[in-house]
């Protein structure tokens, strides 16, 4: 997938680490494992962070030396305590049968998502435009910068459109 048509900056390969995103709206498009690393750092400086994640994973605040079912209980409890909204918790819960069985460790991922300057967007992405990211609920999410992971979770057939939004063409 190419992000070449996006007018703003795109950052991958850990280039987001240590960067100052002051005044920028940033999209995070990465695997669940990478997202839990990226988001807590970005919210420290960015104006607004939009987290595109439709395939969540279980998150633990620290490594838990326990068997699978107990780890899942701990992860559920961490989610319950860390995220106040019922619907957001549902969006952050892996699919009961097809979700990832792996556990990730992040102490402050949920705290970052709870901030008013951070939003979880769980709709499937279908295109990158010059100004942002389009998702299947029909909305273009405008951003100044896209931070992406090593494995950008977009299907090989995801379109990259260069067509600007109608709003702008008629402006």
């Amino acid at each position: 997938m190419s992000l070449a048509d996006f007018r703003g900056e795109t950052l991958g390969h850990q280039r987001w680490r240590g960067r100052d995103f002051s005044g920028q709206r940033v999209a995070v498009i990465a695997s669940a494992r990478e997202t839990v690393d990226i988001v807590p750092e970005l919210v420290r400086t960015a104006l607004f962070v939009k987290v595109f994640q439709d395939r969540p994973g279980w998150v633990l605040p620290r490594p838990v030396p326990a068997l699978g079912p107990l780890r899942q209980v701990a992860a559920r409890l961490h989610l319950r305590l860390g995220v106040s909204d019922d619907w957001t918790r549902r969006l952050l819960t892996p699919h009961p049968r097809f979700g990832s069985p792996h556990f990730m460790v992040s102490e402050d991922f949920y705290a970052a998502l709870e901030r008013p300057d951070c939003k979880l967007i769980a709709w499937p992405i279908y295109a990158i435009t010059p100004d942002g990211v389009r998702t299947a609920e029909g909305i273009e999410h405008r951003v100044d910068c896209i931070v992406h992971g090593e494995t950008v979770p977009l299907g090989h057939d995801t379109a990259v459109t260069t067509k600007p939004a109608r709003q702008e063409r008629t402006a």
Partner: protein, 309 residues
């Protein structure tokens, strides 16, 4: 069968569209006169809420999907129903049907009850129940409500929006019935277990207290606006015809129950209305909305804005 679903998922991804593709300020809004606006505002509000609640239904179906590909298709359908609600809300804004804050119209008590039930039980409903109910509602939406709207409104933007929506809905109906075929082809014992699951008190009660009055109220409101009852009849007939074409759908008890109920809904002279539906509409209208706890935040996801800054 699985290759059908793979191909359908590819088509769904290829056919995505956005509210930003539509020129919401182009001429045509003036064709909606004051008289038409007054008549159509409650209809559009109901339509937006049907799509919005339908979206939530697909979110529950995704949890129950039999395969990962169907799960992904349902996640797209969840988003697409939300897109339809967003686009219809944008039409309401274009036609001056929203208040000064551009807020979503308040749902009636029956919609609020449906939201409550979906929040509480949606994810635990058996697959066959929801998977049968949704195509019935989509046949009614596609075959009756949308056709009525397009007959009444001449605004070219409305027709452009509904070309997209109808194209999406055609795919939804195709997949809905393919999934019913898949379920119907399953072993008898699984169908039996699913059927027993559908007889859980919360499902039966939900059907009587929520679904029956919700649909009847909308049915009567829309017929009062001028929707010919023949169109409703044809929509239900379509549900029976497409389901009847399948080799295995007829093995699903929920399909027969909903088909029979739909036939009663469209026939206003049937005792179903006098003995069950009308009393339930009256009874539910007495429920104070404040008794229902705050809905989950998906209700606030709707927007008429094509671009989120």
């Amino acid at each position: 069968m699985s290759s059908h679903f793979d191909e359908m998922l590819r088509t769904i991804k290829d056919k995505q569209w956005s509210l930003a593709d539509i020129d919401w300020d182009s001429p045509g809004a003036e064709t909606v006169t004051d008289e038409l606006r007054a008549k159509m505002t409650p209809f559009m509000a109901d339509l937006v809420w049907i799509e919005h609640v339908g979206a939530r239904g697909f979110a529950s179906l995704a949890k129950k999907a039999p395969t990962p590909v169907i799960e992904e298709i349902y996640r797209y359908f969840h988003a697409e129903e939300q897109k339809h609600a967003n686009a219809e809300l944008a039409l309401m804004k274009r036609w001056g049907m929203l208040d000064e804050n551009d807020d979503m119209p308040e749902p009636n008590i029956n919609v609020k009850l449906a939201i409550k039930v979906l929040d509480r039980y949606g994810d635990s409903l058996p697959l066959t129940g929801l998977a049968t109910l949704i195509p019935l509602l989509e046949c009614a939406l596609d075959g009756a409500l949308v056709k009525f709207l397009l007959d009444e409104v001449q605004d070219p933007v409305c027709h452009e929006v509904f070309r997209h929506i109808n194209s999406d809905e055609a795919r939804h109906i195709t997949v809905d019935f393919q999934v019913l075929e898949l379920i119907g082809a399953g072993p008898k014992h699984r169908l039996l277990i699913e059927t027993i699951g559908n007889l859980k008190p919360q499902v039966v009660l939900g059907l009587i207290v929520v679904f029956v009055p919700l649909i009847n109220k909308m049915r009567d409101n829309i017929v009062a606006l001028g929707l010919p009852e023949k169109k409703l009849y044809n929509a239900v007939k379509r549900f029976a015809t497409i389901g009847g074409r399948g080799e295995h759908t007829r093995r699903i008890p929920a399909y027969h129950v909903l088909k029979a109920q739909a036939a009663m809904i469209v026939d206003r002279s049937h005792p179903y209305h006098r003995l069950l539906a009308d009393p339930m509409v009256k009874l539910t209208s007495l429920i104070p909305a404040r008794l229902l706890s705050k809905p989950q935040s998906w209700v606030d996801e709707i927007t008429h804005r094509p671009v989120a800054e």
